[in-house]
Amino acid sequence: MNRERSPVRRVDPRRPAIITPAGLRRIVLGSTEGDRLGAASAVHAVARPVRSAGPFTRCIAVAVHADRGTLDDHAREAVAAAALLAGPDCAVRVAVLGACHDDAAALGIDHLLAWPDFDRQAYQPERCVRWLQQLHDRWHPTAWLLPDRAADGELGRRFAVAGALGLACGVVELDARQLRVRASAREDALRPHAAVMLLARAVASTRLPFVGLGGQQTESPTDDAAGSSSLASPIEDLGLEPGDPQTLALEEADFIVAAGNGVTDVALFNALASAVGAATGASRVAVDDGRFPRAKQIGATGRTVSASGYLALGISGAVQHLQGIKDCRHVIAVNLDAAAPIARRADLTVVEDSTRLMRALLDLVQREKQGAAA
C-alpha cells in the first residue's frame, strides 16, 4: 500500500551528526551529512599490536577454501581460534585453496599461503590432500584447524585419514588444553587436542585485540605425474551444474531478491530476479497481502536464509525479518525511508522508490547482458 506523505512532518530521532575537530558532536538541522548513529564514529579503531614478532619455534596451521576471493565468517573463526591458541613462540600459518584478497594481518595470520588457480568446480580431493600433506611435512604444525562444513570438512576428514592423524570433528568448544565435542544426544565428550580439529560455528570470537605479521605468498602445487595418473582411473568428473535459482529452496539460494511493502509491481520484480539470476522471497507484509505465496516468506515465522547476497526492495526491516536474514553476508536495502531499521543491517542502502529502481536496474542489467553478448 502506498502511504501518502502525512501532513505531520516525521522527525528522524537519530539525526545525522558529525564530530567536529574539537571533538564536539554537531547536528545541522536538515542536512544529511554525517553519521546517523550515536557516538560510534567517535571511537576510532585503535592500532592493534602485533601478536608476536617471533622467533617462532612451532606453528599452528589452518586450511580453508576461499569463497570468491575472501574468507567467510566460519573460516575467519577458525583462523581466530588458531591465533588465540598460539603462544608467543607459535606462528599462525593459513593455507587457502583459492585466491585470497583479504588483509592477512587484520585476521591474525602470520603467514598466508594461497593457491590462486585452485578450481572449485573440478573434483580433485586427492590433489588437495596431497598439498596439505606436503605442507604438513614442510611446516610440522602442532595442530590443523579447519571449519567443519561442506568442502573443508571433507578435506579435513580425508587428510586426517590419509595421514593417520588424530581427528576431532564438530568441535563446539575449544580451550587451551581441551576441546568439547557432542558425543551423543545427551552427552558431550571432553578430550585433549587432536592433530586435526574441525570446528563448528561460533567456537572462537573474531574480534582479536592483536594483528598478525601478515605475510602473504602464493603457490601452485606441482602435480607429479605418478600421483595423478594412478588416481585418475576410479573417478571421472562429468561436470558440475550450478543450481537454478528459480527452482531452488530459498534456504539454499546464493542470491535472493526480496520484496516488501514498497513493491507493487510483482511482474517487474520477477523479471528483475530472473534477469539477475536470483531467487525471490518476500517479507510478511507482502505475503499477507497476497502478492506472494507463503512459501516465499522470509523471517522469523518464514524461512531463514543464508544467502551471500540479499537485495531487499521496499522492506522496512522489522526485527522478525532481520532474524530471517541473520546469516546473510551482503545486504542491499532499497527504501524510501533512510531511517528504516534495515539501514542498520544493510551494507548498502539506496534511498529510492523501489519500482523506479527496479526498472532502472532491469534496464541496466539487460543493457549489460546485450553488451556482453555483442
Partner: protein, 260 residues
C-alpha cells in the same frame, strides 16, 4: 555374502524419549540401494549391538536381510577392520553421512574406504548403474549438482538431503531376516582415539574462545551495547535512479554476487 551391494546402518537414540530407532540418513541410503535396478540383493550391516526393534525398522524399508555383527572386544575398539573383512567381496558399499551416536563425526566412510583401498564419494543423492560402475550425482552447496563416473569397487556416502520417500511396510518387517554373528576377538582394530576422553552432560551454553582484554569500563560498555561502528554501511540518497542502479550493480559485481 556375495551380494552386489551393502548398506551400513546405525542406531539412533531419540534425544527426548531415549528410545532406539533407525537413523534417517541410513534409511535413505537403504532406500536408494533398493531402488537401484538389478537383483534386490541388498545386505544391511551393523557392527555393534542392535535390538530386534531397530533391526526390524530397517527391514521395513524393504530390505531382505540385515547382518548384526557383535564385536566381542570392548566398544572402544575401532570397527573398521571388522567391516573391511565383512565387506571385502561387496563391490558397492553405501553409508549415510554421519551417525547419531558415537560422536557423529562422519569419518567412517573415509576410514573404511582407506582401509579397503577404494575411492569414496560423499554427499551423493542419486546413483545410476553404468556398466560395471555407477554415475553418481553429488549435491554441493547452493543447489549445485556434480556428476561423477565411479568405477567399481567403491564406497558412497549418501547425503541426508536425498529426495526419496521412506517406506515402512509391516509385511517386509516380518518377512525380513536378521542374522546375528559374533566377531572373533582379534578382528577388532586399534584403540579408538576417542578413548582418552571424558564424558560429561551436554552443555547448552558454551564458552567462546576469545582473548582476555583488560579494558576500561567505558570500553566494555560500548562493546556490550554493540555500538556497531560498522552499522549502516553506505547510504546513497542523491542521484537519479540510473545512478543508484549503477551503484547497486557495481556493489554486486565487486562482491561477485552476479556472474555477468
Amino acid at each position: 555374502m556375495n551380494s552386489p551391494m551393502a548398506v551400513l546402518v546405525s542406531v539412533r537414540t531419540d534425544p527426548v524419549s531415549a528410545r532406539a530407532t533407525r537413523n534417517r540418513n541410513d534409511a535413505l541410503a537403504v532406500s536408494l540401494a533398493l531402488r537401484l535396478p538389478g537383483p534386490a540383493d541388498v545386505r544391511l550391516v551393523h557392527v555393534g549391538t542392535m535390538s530386534d526393534t531397530v533391526a526390524r525398522d530397517y527391514l521395513a524399508l524393504g530390505a531382505p536381510t540385515i547382518d548384526v555383527l557383535d564385536p566381542a572386544a570392548a566398544p572402544a575398539r575401532s570397527i573398521v577392520p571388522a567391516l573391511r573383512d565383512a565387506l571385502a567381496a561387496t563391490p558397492l558399499v553405501l553409508t549415510g553421512m554421519r551417525a547419531d551416536d558415537g560422536h557423529g563425526s562422519g569419518v567412517l566412510p573415509f576410514e573404511l574406504a582407506a582401509a579397503m583401498g577404494r575411492p569414496v564419494v560423499g554427499d551423493v543423492i542419486a546413483v545410476e548403474p553404468d556398466g560395471a560402475g555407477w554415475i553418481v550425482t553429488q549435491a554441493l552447496a547452493k543447489g549445485a549438482r556434480r556428476r561423477l563416473r565411479v568405477a567399481a569397487p567403491a564406497v558412497l556416502a549418501i547425503s541426508a538431503a536425498t529426495p526419496l520417500p521412506l517406506r515402512y511396510a509391516h509385511a517386509d518387517r516380518m518377512a525380513g531376516r536378521i542374522s546375528r554373528r559374533r566377531l572373533p576377538a582379534e578382528a577388532a582394530g586399534a584403540e579408538a582415539p576417542g578413548s582418552a576422553e571424558q564424558r560429561v552432560a551436554t552443555a547448552r551454553r558454551l564458552k567462546l574462545l576469545e582473548a582476555r582484554v583488560i579494558q576500561s569500563g567505558h570500553a566494555r560498555m560500548q562493546a556490550a551495547v554493540g555500538s556497531a561502528a560498522s552499522g549502516g554501511g553506505m547510504v546513497i540518497s542523491t542521484g537519479s535512479p540510473d545512478d543508484k542502479a549503477r551503484a547497486v550493480l557495481h556493489y554486486l559485481r565487486r562482491h561477485a554476487l552476479v556472474n555477468f
